[in-house]
């Protein structure tokens, strides 16, 4: 038994040693990209942009992340990359504080760290590729909601979960804007959908019957928008209750065309991934340093830098008129 095992091991070892030497031979720059969660359409479209950038720059792109919202897993993956000796780590932080411990460790071992989508602590990374500040997102969503309801009446929110950090952040700014600018509007309920479209649909159905005066449902997680729209459609409330939120054009096209969903707000996620990779590589090659005012990223052109934030530009409002021009 032992002998067989030994033979198997040696055979495997020889086979793999040859594989290893083969992979060690190509000495490309390695950029590792960490999304908040892997199976999320939002980050898949980020990856598409990142892949394009990686091809143009001739680097190796690693893309790995938790398959569920497990706070500790992001740290474990970063620590793994540290021992793998990657050159650049680009992170969308799920937990600001938590991930920063691992990122500081990475910087200490000579790895360049940037963040995209959601920032870590400022001392744990060199640049943040900023698609929109939480404040900008919160205000954008609230202003659009106010526009759709003429700044009055009840509305409800659907969030991913009660514990997700970014969701709480956005919600905070939405509520602040509400208090400050729209006294005639009232937030009547906040319900979690666990990032499940089916659950968002059930929650929205209950919201509709519980709040007959509801004017609008705002979903701030991407599965929530089509879920809420389907509920409104099935309740026969199309037009009476507006649906809007943060979501991807492709998942919402049919509802926008049917007039159920009025507008979906998002930045160009592909560009975000593309810009993150370009920025990461530039930092690694010392082409992008502290104090720079602009940054040129391949075919996308030049971006402004404010402080250590590389700005992607304003979030985009997709509606009936323009949504078909986008495919992500």
């Amino acid at each position: 038994m032992k002998k067989i095992l030994l033979h198997l091991c040696t055979a495997g070892a020889v086979l793999l040693a040859s594989l290893v030497t083969a992979s060690a031979a190509d000495s490309k720059l390695v950029v590792a990209m960490l999304p908040k969660s892997k199976g999320n359409a939002y980050f898949i479209s980020c990856k598409a942009g990142a892949d394009k950038a990686a091809k143009e720059l001739g680097i190796q792109l690693l893309f790995d992340g938790p398959t569920d919202s497990n706070a500790a897993k992001q740290n474990e993956i970063v620590e793994n990359w540290i021992t793998l000796g990657v050159d650049v780590i680009a992170v969308a932080a799920e937990n600001k504080e938590g991930i920063s411990t691992a990122l500081r460790k990475a910087r200490k071992s000579g790895i360049k760290v940037i963040t995209f989508d959601a920032d870590a602590m400022t001392d744990a990374r060199s640049f943040f590729v900023n698609q929109a500040t939480p404040e900008g997102i919160g205000h954008g969503l609230m202003d659009e909601a106010a526009r759709l309801t003429n700044s009055e009446g009840e509305f409800a929110m659907i969030v991913a979960s009660l514990t997700a950090a970014n969701q709480r952040e956005w919600q905070k700014h939405i509520e602040a804007r509400l208090k400050e600018k729209y006294p005639k509007m009232k937030l009547v309920a906040v319900r979690p959908c666990d990032d499940l479209k089916d659950k968002a649909q059930s929650e929205a159905t209950a919201l509709l019957s519980a709040n007959p005066k509801l004017k609008l449902i705002m979903a701030i997680c991407s599965p929530g928008v089509p879920g809420a729209a389907e509920a409104v459609k099935q309740a026969g409330m199309t037009g009476k209750v507006k649906v809007m939120g943060l979501g991807l054009p492709n998942e919402n096209k049919r509802y926008v065309h049917a007039g159920v969903t009025d507008s979906v707000i998002l930045w160009n996620t592909g560009d975000l991934g593309y810009l993150a990779i370009y920025a990461g590589v530039a930092v690694a090659k010392d082409e992008l340093k502290k104090g720079a005012k602009t940054f040129k990223a391949g075919s996308l052109g030049t971006f402004n830098i404010v402080g250590d934030n590389i700005l992607l530009g304003k979030p985009f409002i997709f509606n009936k008129g323009n949504i078909d021009q986008f495919d992500f």
């Binding site: 095992l5 091991c9 594989l19 992979s23 793994n80 504080e97 514990t163």
Partner: protein, 329 residues
């Protein structure tokens, strides 16, 4: 014993296939000492939960609530320190007590009312997580712990990750309890035949209660280590950990029907899963597929099925032979 070979083979495989030199000519990947320490660091919390579960499963019970209890204890610890103004050691001590009390709730329902552990802990699985969310409204995250506390989760002591010493100490204590005391024998007897144990004069209720209270206590320890490692306490801490812990225990040869099981086996089970998970993330093939997370889940499930099948195969084969040679009736 088979598991030891599996673990060795696994480790050797990843050592050879998961180690490379990078552009700067530095050896990187699975074969580095840092990686080995990381594996140890990452397995401490799930390892502790698996240790907590081993005596439970030996008594033919189960505890689904420990992952949720980890989350609740992390929150309580953060609240006691941050809002209660207690110093870290006092907050930690009180959290351990509260963990034991929560374990005591399971114990009371299971022993005093003789309810099935699966259902009781399914209820407390929701309840503990729900309380953690209710206390923090889901949103409050406790951070900014002092450096001296973070040392427990992020630094090294005497060459090893600090929390590993705590893990080893708990492993030793539980190991001694299960293998070297009459308590351990009582656990096995209860697992094999609870009625028999009762007739033999064993205080079945009290022994069972001990097992669940101990599980709560260890979950609280795991919560404190988790908080120190991430530097934050939040209501979602430890989500899904119970499944990994059960997998590790069963992989380690503890029978889910109770009666048999060992702490060294559980440690091997924890190691086998941790090595698999970390090793896969170092394999060039898996990296190229961008599928480390999925592959490790997939292979852990497959490994569990294989281990289970291997454990019953000899019995089935002998049954089969016996039936073939049995005279026709």
């Amino acid at each position: 014993m088979l598991l030891l070979y599996v673990l060795l083979a696994e480790w050797l495989f990843f050592y050879v296939a998961g180690t490379t030199t990078n552009r700067r000519g530095v050896i990187v990947g699975f074969g580095t000492l840092d990686r080995q320490f990381d594996i140890l660091r990452h397995s401490c919390e799930i390892g502790l939960l698996a240790l907590a579960l081993t005596p439970v499963i030996i008594t033919a019970g189960i505890d689904l609530s420990i992952g949720s209890l980890l989350g609740l204890c992390a929150i309580l610890f953060g609240k006691l320190w941050h809002d209660g103004g207690l110093p870290i050691p006092a907050a930690a001590g009180l959290t351990l007590v509260l963990g034991a009390v929560a374990g005591g709730l399971n114990a009371t329902l299971i022993t005093a009312l003789r309810l099935p552990p699966l259902i009781v802990t399914l209820g407390t699985y929701s309840l503990f997580r729900g309380l953690a969310e209710a206390i923090t409204h889901g949103s409050i995250t406790y951070t900014d712990f002092p450096e001296s506390f973070l040392f427990v989760g992020q630094e090294r002591l005497l060459g090893l990750p600090t929390q590993a010493w705590i893990f080893f100490a708990v492993a030793l204590a539980v190991g001694l309890l299960v293998h070297r005391t009459t308590f351990g024998r009582a656990f096995r007897t209860i697992g094999l035949a609870p009625e028999g144990a009762r007739y033999a004069g064993l205080p079945v209720g009290r022994r069972l209660a001990l097992v669940y209270v101990l599980a709560g206590l260890i979950a609280a320890i795991a919560a404190i280590i988790y908080t120190a490692r991430l530097g934050q306490a939040k209501a979602d801490a430890g989500t899904g950990y119970e499944l990994f812990a059960i997998t590790a225990v069963v992989l380690g040869g503890t029978s889910i029907f109770g009666g048999t099981g060992s702490i060294p086996g559980t440690l091997l089970g924890v190691a086998a899963i941790a090595v698999l998970k970390n090793g896969l993330a170092c394999l060039p093939v898996v990296m190229a597929m961008n599928a480390a997370e999925e592959m490790s889940g997939l292979l852990t499930g497959a490994l569990l099925l294989l281990a289970l099948t291997a454990s019953v195969l000899p019995k089935i084969l002998s049954n089969f032979r016996a039936s073939r040679h049995a005279p026709a009736t």
